[in-house]
């Protein structure tokens, strides 16, 4: 058989095979199901409200909080320092920088556990690293931090540290969320611009 005919047969065959491969222009999970299941079983993907309060108080720059609720809910109140990425926009490429960072821990939260855990599973399935969940969501934040009370005569040093941490976080939460909506929106936008400038490096 002539070489030209052989090459033609090869190319036609390749074309036929490629035609049967389903072309999916949208994103699908990169991890295999058993890999994702194994990651899902780990308890190390969770941070408690107390741990998040500590990050907030210390303005830890290696941590980024992501609020998965709607913009309206976010503006009503949110954990200081958090960025709003509504769950329906989770796959928007504009947010990739926030969600997929090797250097920064990304902690997801919503009102409860359901949305945040779904978002985490999607992020993990897409191969995003360093993504975590605040256990219990904002409901647990309110129960643990905002409604914290000390009752009793004596407090141990350990309890005192926890209480002080919660009190400081509560104060910060109240201050930021008590700003008028216009000021809050400006504050959030200024923060976003500042972070964008920092990402751009030094001038």
């Amino acid at each position: 058989m002539e070489p030209r005919i052989k090459i033609s047969v090869l190319l036609i065959g390749l074309g036929v095979l490629l035609a049967f491969i389903p072309y999916n222009s949208s994103e699908t999970f990169r991890l295999k199901p058993d890999e994702l299941l194994e990651k899902s079983l780990s308890d190390t993907i969770y941070f408690s409200a107390d741990q998040v309060a500590r990050f907030v108080n210390s303005e830890d720059t290696t941590v980024q909080l992501i609020d998965l609720r709607s913009k309206k809910e976010y503006l009503e109140c949110n954990i200081p320092g958090s960025v709003n990425i509504p769950f329906e926009e989770f796959l928007n490429p504009d947010w990739q920088g926030y969600l997929n960072s090797k250097e920064i821990k990304t902690i997801l939260y919503a009102n409860g556990d359901q949305t945040a855990n779904m978002a985490w599973t999607i992020a993990a399935g897409l191969g995003y690293e360093n993504v975590y969940v605040m256990r219990g969501g904002l409901n647990d934040w309110f129960e643990t931090v905002m409604l914290t009370r000390f009752e009793g005569d004596k407090i141990t040093p350990h309890e005192n540290i926890i209480f002080e941490n919660r009190l400081k976080a509560r104060r910060l939460f109240t201050q930021i969320n008590s700003l008028p909506d216009s000021a809050k929106a400006q504050f959030i936008e200024a923060k976003r611009l500042k972070e964008a400038q920092l990402d751009g490096g030094c001038e």
Binding site: L17, P22, S40, D113, T121, I122, R135, L138, N139
Partner: protein, 155 residues
């Protein structure tokens, strides 16, 4: 003749690779956006009261490590611990089910993660049983501090 045989052998290998990839049940197939769209549809979560009045056939899947739920509904329930969700026997049970798959766990985090995994594997009729109602609703109303604190100006 030898060259034609070699080319045919290459085709056969590629055809096997492509077909095994397409029909492999152990790979995620759906677009990720489908999981988000389905999750935004409130119909994927039901309460215990709604389950009692459900007319459609369903299979209750208890995802807890040790069974808790299945004891109440022995007929249409099965215990599949979350860590065994992808085992062949578990997958056979889920695939052979004709009705909806209702996931239940003591911890809502488990059923949420299982839901996404099954959704991306191609299961379209998976719903979560919420033990406590409206867990995704904020139970607290934040009261802003509107007291203006005047700062003293020192001359």
């Amino acid at each position: 003749m030898k060259n034609v045989g070699f080319i045919l052998f290459l085709f056969a290998v590629m055809a096997v690779l492509v077909i095994s990839r397409i029909f492999n049940p152990n790979l995620f197939k759906r677009e990720t956006q489908a999981a988000i769209e389905n999750a935004l549809n409130t119909g994927f979560v039901i309460s215990e009261d709604q389950l009692k009045t459900k007319n459609n056939p369903y299979l209750l899947v208890d995802l807890n490590h040790t069974t808790v739920v299945s004891q109440d509904n022995p007929e249409n329930s099965v215990h599949i611990p979350f860590e065994k969700l992808l085992d062949k026997t578990s997958q056979d049970i889920l695939k052979n089910n004709n009705g909806e798959i209702v996931l239940v766990a003591t911890d809502n985090t488990t059923s949420s993660k299982a839901w996404v995994i099954l959704n991306q594997l191609g299961y379209k009729n998976v719903i979560i049983l919420e033990k406590k109602q409206n867990q995704e609703v904020l139970k607290y109303k934040f009261q802003p501090d509107t007291i203006i604190r005047l700062e003293s100006v020192q001359n």
